[in-house]
């Protein structure tokens, strides 16, 4: 059956319910969040999570179907997706920029209320040459292994692609486990003056992005095992790799300025 009766290379998508369910889902999610804050009730929030997760699963599954199985993703479509991913990552860069701005605003000229010193008195900071350094090595290594995956894909080396992507994901999980241990062992909390606020907001959102990136890479792993990627067409993987490098770069900024300079 000839799907593309078009005189153009673009993908005009079929009708889909997922944008609507997505909108309903996020509305439920944020309303549920307010209900949690004010009434200590998690039900609406959980419902919101469920609708959003179901939407994501089914929407992205449809994209895999349209591309891998139906062949709707021409080079033009792929280019459009590339720009989309670049713009999305740019928006995330600005998101993190705001937390870094808050950090520098507070730390470059500390207020008299915290003694005009950074870190403020009695804050016991993490030694940047212990666990944070290990985390840095882990993420940089995972950047190397994900590049190895990409090259393996492009060279049609299926077994090495699987091995290197598996190592990348493992390193990502390792980072998350170690960082949550650090959080547990921290001598200060988010409530401990502006130091705690800036530290946990910045590293917290970074950690969330590591988890998101790990899940993205894991989905790519499943797709790789199911032979979705070719040596010349694997944009889903490239998008995941770009996101992963972005997460790595944010960590490097965090490590250098929050952990090291800020100690």
């Amino acid at each position: 059956m000839n799907y593309n009766n078009n005189n153009h290379p673009f993908h005009l998508v079929d009708y889909s319910p997922w944008p609507l369910t997505g909108a309903i889902g996020v509305m439920t999610l944020v309303t549920g969040m307010i209900k949690w804050f004010h009434e200590f009730n998690l039900n609406l929030l959980m419902l919101g999570y469920l609708i959003v997760i179901l939407t994501m699963y089914q929407w992205w599954r449809d994209i895999c179907r349209e591309s891998t199985f139906q062949g709707k993703h021409t080079i033009k479509v792929s280019k459009g997706l590339r720009w989309g991913m670049i713009l999305f990552i740019m928006s995330e860069v600005f998101f993190f920029l705001s937390f870094f701005w808050a950090f520098f605003h507070s730390s470059l000229s500390p207020n008299i209320e915290i003694g005009m010193m950074w870190p403020p008195m009695s804050i016991i900071t993490f030694n940047p040459f212990q666990i944070p350094l290990l985390n840095t090595i882990i993420l940089i290594s995972s950047g190397v292994t994900v590049t190895w995956t990409h090259h393996s894909l492009m060279e049609n080396n299926f077994s090495q692609a699987i091995q290197s992507l598996f190592i990348t994901i493992t390193l990502g999980i390792y980072f998350s486990i170690i960082q949550s241990y650090e959080y547990f062992e921290a001598s200060f909390t988010i409530a401990d003056c502006i130091y705690g606020s800036t530290f946990f907001m910045a590293t917290g959102f970074h950690g969330l992005h590591v988890i998101i990136g790990t899940i993205f890479l894991f989905i790519c792993f499943i797709r790789l095992l199911n032979y979705h990627f070719s040596n010349i067409h694997h944009f889903g993987f490239e998008a995941a790799a770009w996101y992963w490098h972005f997460v790595d770069v944010v960590w490097l900024f965090l490590y250098i300025f929050v952990y090291w300079w800020g100690k």
Binding site: I112, I114, G115, P120, M121
Partner: protein, 82 residues
Amino acid sequence: MPDMIKSPADLKTAPFDARFPNQNQTRHCYQSYLDFYRCQKVRGESYEPCNYFKRVYKSLCPNEWVDKWDTQRAEGTFPGRI
């Protein structure tokens, strides 16, 4: 001992400090407070030149702030490094 103000010529305030050139002199006040007590700690309480800093902060700082910081120092909760 407070100086007696007999004429306008006796009116004095903190001199210009290029480290704090702008209208907001909060950090000038705080820094002088810190410097006085640091000077005292290093040089001892009878060292007269330390009182320069004391005159500066007495002139610049709101009295409430000075009282609050004195209380914090007494309780051991003062956030600055002396």
